[in-house]
């Protein structure tokens, strides 16, 4: 595209892009290649391709199911928190965007401001309270925390989106005597599917990837999430690098597959949710 004479020429630009691509990919490549090596091979061949594909690492991980248990726990949290937050946010954003009431703009401002408060600030009192209420290491307690933490962003995104919808649609439905729940469910939400999908992707990724809440509020072994499990895992197999890498391949697979399938929503959503 450019024909600038004094600037970097196209070969150089091409080189820069290739280098950036290489850097972006190299940890994933290392992870995958190493996971296919045997422990012996890794000690003398750290960088090259595996001489023979060895699937032992994966076999031993599949027979010891703890990685999959952790994934299951993470999935429970993701589903619970995203569902709870989405329901609460759809109702709330509908009222903020399309109804008029006292305190509406104050509520929206406060909710939006909360997006910038780091989650770690909220941890101490909730931990003390949960200890008292016996909610430590319960999914329901942790789901509420995650749902709360992702809700300000959900409100922000849905409110701004609902405001862009054509108002004639609701007005004519109201003329026909439809109530608000009907309008929300049958008109607003179907029109908002792209925004909802973006929201679900960002929020699910946040809950799935979070470490600090998970290790503080789910201390029980049987409740451990994938991210908390990874730190246990790397300690347990410190020297067994191919095995560790096979674990990381399994651990990163779900989100990588979703990213490839829904990359548009990931990119849009994470740009919008840049504040996290």
């Amino acid at each position: 595209m450019t024909r600038g004479k004094t600037g970097p020429d196209s070969a150089l630009k091409h080189g820069i892009l290739l280098a950036a691509t290489f850097f972006a990919l190299v940890p994933s490549i290392f992870m995958i290649l190493t996971s296919l090596k045997s422990q012996d091979e890794y000690t003398f061949n750290k960088i090259g391709l595996p001489h023979a594909l060895v699937l032992d690492q994966f076999e031993s991980l599949i027979s010891d199911s703890s990685i999959f248990d952790w994934m299951g726990n993470s999935a429970i949290l993701v589903i619970g928190a995203v569902l709870l937050s989405t329901v609460v946010s759809c109702l709330g954003a509908y009222a903020i965007a399309l109804m008029r009431f006292r305190g509406r703009s104050l509520l929206f401002s406060i909710s939006t401001a909360l997006m910038a408060v780091p989650p770690v600030v909220m941890i101490v009192p909730l931990f003390v309270l949960y200890t008292q209420l016996d909610l430590i290491s319960t999914f329901r307690g942790t789901i509420v925390i995650y749902a709360g933490l992702i809700t300000p962003f959900s409100i922000y995104l849905l409110t701004t989106f609902f405001r862009t919808l054509p108002r004639e649609l609701f007005e004519s439905a109201r003329m026909d005597g439809a109530n608000d729940l009907f309008i929300l469910w049958k008109i607003v939400l179907p029109l908002s599917l792209p925004a909802l999908l973006t929201l679900v992707v960002v929020n699910a990724l946040y809950v799935w990837n979070d470490l600090i809440i998970a290790i503080i509020f789910l201390q029980d072994d049987s409740k451990r999430t994938l991210m908390a499990g990874i730190s246990v895992f790397q300690g347990r197999y410190e020297a067994l690098i191919p095995l560790t890498m096979a674990g990381m391949v399994i651990a990163s697979a779900p989100m990588l597959i979703l990213y490839i399938l829904f990359q548009k929503y990931f990119i849009q959503g994470l740009m919008a949710g840049a504040i996290k």
């Binding site: 290392f30 909360l114 600030v121």
Partner: protein
């Protein structure tokens, strides 16, 4: 219905006013208010209260500023603060790298979608996974040093993870690697929304590549760059726990060389069971983020006006 609303003419809201009773909106926002009050409101009040108390278990006596005095006189706290501030050095590097890549990507428009998918990958991978993989790559006898030795750069083959002088640099490098992915995507989106006639005009005027970048593209990207800087500063000060927890083997190690403020709160709460101390640090961190929220909102509003970041 309340006639007061009629004094404010707003076609936007009139239809909404006609059907539901005046209590309906409150019913809709009730779950939201309850959830936010519990997860944000309650803790934000309590950290202030706890920070003035000697909390044992669930509560304790008031002790004035003793928690704060204790923290502020402790080297470990100041080390943690210094480490967070040190990580701020990553921000200019992230901005420059993201600018370079996004502009090159923008100019070589062919295949940019595929490049974009690949270059955004670091931001999709979970931090703990990245940290574990990088830790193995940067081991003393790991592949990074093997390559450096092979290239004849032996002096660069450091003990990246195990040396207390180097470990925080390694953490910073890994943060730059991941967080730049966001910058590239944000900047590229802004570039793609620019009016191309400006760039064409600059070309016709005979502007060189550097001139076009510096006088045409960068000024147009000012707002998105500011937005990215503010967001990244918040990240460096308050969201690096996952990197440090895994790279520093759960201790912020080696020694205390990768200890950060979040980690200090975590240790005070979970390991030494001193919620009062942890709360006092949380209050300080909260006050710092409050200061950052003002510029954040200013840049976000301007970014939204440019249809970005929304």
């Amino acid at each position: 219905m309340c006639p007061g609303f009629l004094l404010i003419p707003s076609s936007f809201d009139e239809a909404a006013m006609q059907q539901h009773s005046r209590f309906t909106p409150y019913l809709y926002v009730l779950p939201l208010v309850v959830l936010l009050a519990f997860v944000f409101g309650y803790p934000l009040v309590r950290i202030f209260e706890f920070s003035f108390k000697l909390v044992r278990g669930i509560n304790g006596p008031w002790i004035g500023f003793r928690n704060y005095e204790l923290i502020l006189s402790q080297d470990l706290f100041w080390d943690s603060v210094r480490h967070n501030l040190f990580l701020l050095m990553a921000v200019p590097a992230m901005v420059i790298w993201s600018l370079l890549i996004s502009i090159v990507l923008y100019e070589r428009i062919r295949g940019w979608k595929l490049y974009r998918i690949v270059l955004f990958l670091p931001y999709i991978l979970a931090i703990p996974i990245i940290a574990v993989v990088m830790k193995k790559m940067f081991q003393l006898s790991g592949p990074v040093n093997e390559v450096l030795n092979w290239l004849g750069l032996d002096f660069l083959a450091l003990d990246w993870i195990g040396s207390s002088d180097v470990a925080l640099w390694t953490v910073m490098l890994i943060i730059i690697w991941r967080e730049s992915a966001l910058g590239i995507i944000l900047f590229l989106a802004r570039l793609l929304s620019l009016d191309e006639s400006l760039i064409e005009a600059a070309k016709l005027e005979g502007a060189s590549w550097w001139q076009r970048v510096w006088y045409v593209l960068v000024p147009q990207m000012k707002v998105v760059i500011e937005f990215y800087v503010v967001v990244s500063v918040i990240t460096m000060l308050s969201s690096v726990f996952a990197y440090v927890y895994l790279i520093g083997s759960g201790r912020g190690g080696p020694g205390t060389s990768t200890m950060v403020v979040e980690f200090y709160i975590f240790n005070a709460l979970v390991r030494t069971s001193l919620p009062g101390i942890a709360s006092a640090v949380s209050v300080l961190l909260f006050l710092v983020t409050l200061l950052l929220i003002i510029p954040l909102f200013a840049v976000r509003r301007r970014a939204n006006e440019q249809e970005l970041g929304a």
